[in-house]
Structure formats: C-alpha cells, structure tokens
C-alpha cells in the first residue's frame, strides 16, 4: 500500500514521541516523560508497569549514572487508522563512575522499543499520538572501560546538564 500524506504526518508525530522519550531520560524530565504515554499505558520491561511506576523506576535507575545517552536509529512505523505499531532501535549509553565494581565505564545497551501507539483526543481536534503499550527488549549489551585519553573538549567545557538547567531549555520557543 502506498503511503498517504496523512500516514506520513502520523509517522512523523510517532517518531517524535520516541525522541522526546529519549530526551526525557537524558535530561531527567518527568513532565516530558509522562507526556509520551497515555495515562493508562502499560510499559513492559521485566514486569508490567503503569506510567507512575515506570517514572519511579526511571528516577531510581537514572540516578545511578553520571550521563545517559539514548541514541535512536531505525524507526519503523506502521499506521492503521488511529492505532500504530512501531519499532525503534536505540543504543543507550550509561556512564558509570568508578566504584568498588570497577573503574569508570560505559554500559551500552542495544535495545528495541516495540510500541502500540494510539491517537486519542478531542473530537475534531485531530487527536494526539501517545504510547498505549510499550515493550522494551535488549538484544545485546557491552561494558566498555573509559580509558584516560584525549581531553574532553579542546578549548571548552561540555555545557550540558541532566535537568532543566540544560541550555536546550532556555533556547526553546515556548
């Protein structure tokens, strides 16, 4: 079936939802995270979680790392009316500070997010795509030590932050 313009718009909105999810993790932005899900969404990792339980888990897990980076590649979306299936390939890097288990290292998970997306909303307002059900699967992981190497940034500092003090917030248009 050839794509319609409507399908393309829906796909673009659905892809953005997952990119906002990545940003929400990396900036630890719970409001943004919540906005990716319908209130009754179910998230399956080891067990089924509701949105609030998932947020609590994220809060506990993300705090263990000094940086996270959710890098999304393939985004395959199939729209069927007001529902859609999506698969997002995402490489999640987690920097772990030196501790009693080892030196500073990056734990890198190659995972896929499989979603049932639903467009719900006000009559005549076009509705909003959000995640109704999400299953997270991890295909493989790596643990790579951080070696003393080249200076972090020649001639400058990194400048980012894992909260709303990140400069990306001040530059927003709204």
């Amino acid at each position: 079936m050839p794509k319609t313009i409507e399908d393309m718009l829906a796909e673009a909105e659905i892809r953005d939802v997952h990119l906002r999810y990545c940003r929400a993790n990396d900036r630890r932005d719970e409001e943004l995270m919540r906005s990716c899900f319908h209130p009754d969404a179910v998230i399956e990792l080891h067990e089924e979680l509701d949105v609030e339980a998932f947020l609590a888990l994220g809060r506990a897990i993300l705090g263990q790392y000094t940086v996270t980076w959710h890098n999304t590649g393939n985004q395959l979306v199939e729209v069927r009316g007001d529902a859609a299936w999506a698969e997002h390939y995402t490489i999640s890097s987690h920097r772990i500070a030196a501790d009693d288990k080892g030196p500073e290292r990056d734990w890198i998970a190659y995972g896929r997010y499989i979603d049932r997306m639903e467009r719900r909303g006000r009559q005549g307002q076009g509705g909003e795509w959000r995640i109704a059900r999400r299953k997270m699967v991890v295909d493989y992981t790596r643990l790579d030590p951080v070696i003393a190497g080249d200076p972090a940034i020649p001639g400058g500092s990194g400048g980012g932050a894992r909260d709303r003090s990140d400069p990306s917030y001040a530059m927003r248009l709204d």
């Binding site: 313009i5 393309m8 718009l9 673009a12 909105e13 953005d16 990119l19 906002r20 990545c22 940003r23 990396d26 940086v67 980076w69 959710h70 890098n71 999304t72 590649g73 890097s93 920097r95 990056d106 076009g126 509705g127 909003e128 790579d144 951080v146 070696i147 003393a148 190497g149 080249d150 972090a152 940034i153 020649p154 001639g155 400058g156 500092s157 990194g158 400048g159 980012g160 990140d166 400069p167 990306s168 530059m171 927003r172 248009l173 709204d174």
Partner: protein, 166 residues
C-alpha cells in the same frame, strides 16, 4: 497539536541543514559549511560565542588535526513555530588521530548535541543561533587486525560524492 504538511516540510529542511553541516565538516567544505548559517549567526561552544567567520576558522584548525572525522546524526527533534524553530540534533563525532610519538592510533568520540534556533528568511531555513553541548567523550584505541576496506574517500571535493551530484 497535530503536525501540518507545511511543518513536516519545514522540519525536513531543518534536518537537512544539520546533515549538510555534518557533511561540510567531514569533507572540509567551507562553502557548504557557511551555507548552513545566516550571515549574522552566533555559535556558542563552552564559554565562547563565535561569529560565522570565527567558527569557520576554529573548525578548520580543529579538523586539520585529525586523519578522519565522522559526524553521525541520530535523534533530530524539531519544533516549528512559524518562521522560527527550535531543534536538537544528537550527533556522535568520531575523530581519528594518527599515531604519534606519544600516543597510538585512536578514535576520539564525542557524544554531543547541537541546539539551534532556526530562522526562515527569504524562504530559506538556516541556523540563526547554535549552541554545541558535549555530554561525554571516549577515547578508543584502534586495534590492528581486520582487513582494510577499498576506501576511495577524501576529505575535500575530490571525494567521490561530489562527482556524482546531480
């Protein structure tokens, strides 16, 4: 708010600007690089705030230190508001250092984000203000062993991609 077709087209143009920026770095194409920015654009890195001429000069100096660079873009989040837009582009920049007397062959890999204020002027989206943030970096040694690929790439306009342009 559902996207409109006009917004989708604007987002596509804006994403392309950053992909051209990456190509401009990796092929050291100053003309292409300049074409990504409005003439009065400001580029902020660390504590520095640079004009287009200044970022061109800094980039040239930095790029010449490496044997290869590769700017790989992943998440591109764009929000269009009329003739302005906000964008965040996740980009992994790999920089291959040749072996020297003091250090072996290695890749310096920066995981960074480009945060942009885009403006459409005279119908064309370009960067009006860009802030470059680096979230983390790695240095990975290059191990010997795997076979060499045919190659054929160049870091200037002798690269095969130029001759194939339409």
């Amino acid at each position: 708010m559902p996207k409109t077709l006009d917004e989708l087209a604007a987002e596509s143009e804006i994403k392309d600007v950053h992909l051209r920026f990456c190509r401009a770095n990796d092929r050291r194409d100053e003309e292409l690089f300049r074409g990504c920015f409005h003439a009065d654009a400001v580029v902020e890195m660390g504590d520095a705030s640079l004009t287009v001429d200044e970022i061109v000069a800094v980039s040239k100096q930095m790029l010449d230190r490496y044997a290869v660079t590769w700017h790989a873009v992943s998440n591109q989040l764009v929000e269009v508001k009329g003739d302005t837009a906000w964008a965040e582009h996740y980009t992994i920049s790999s920089h291959r250092f040749a072996a020297s007397e003091t250090a072996p062959l290695r890749d310096w890999v920066a995981h960074g984000r480009y945060i942009d204020r885009m403006e459409r002027r005279d119908g064309e989206w370009r960067i009006a203000r860009r802030r470059f943030l680096v979230d983390y970096t790695r240095t990975d040694l290059v191990a010997a062993g795997d076979p060499e690929m045919p190659g054929g790439a160049a870091r200037d306009r002798s690269d095969l991609s130029y001759a194939m342009r339409v």
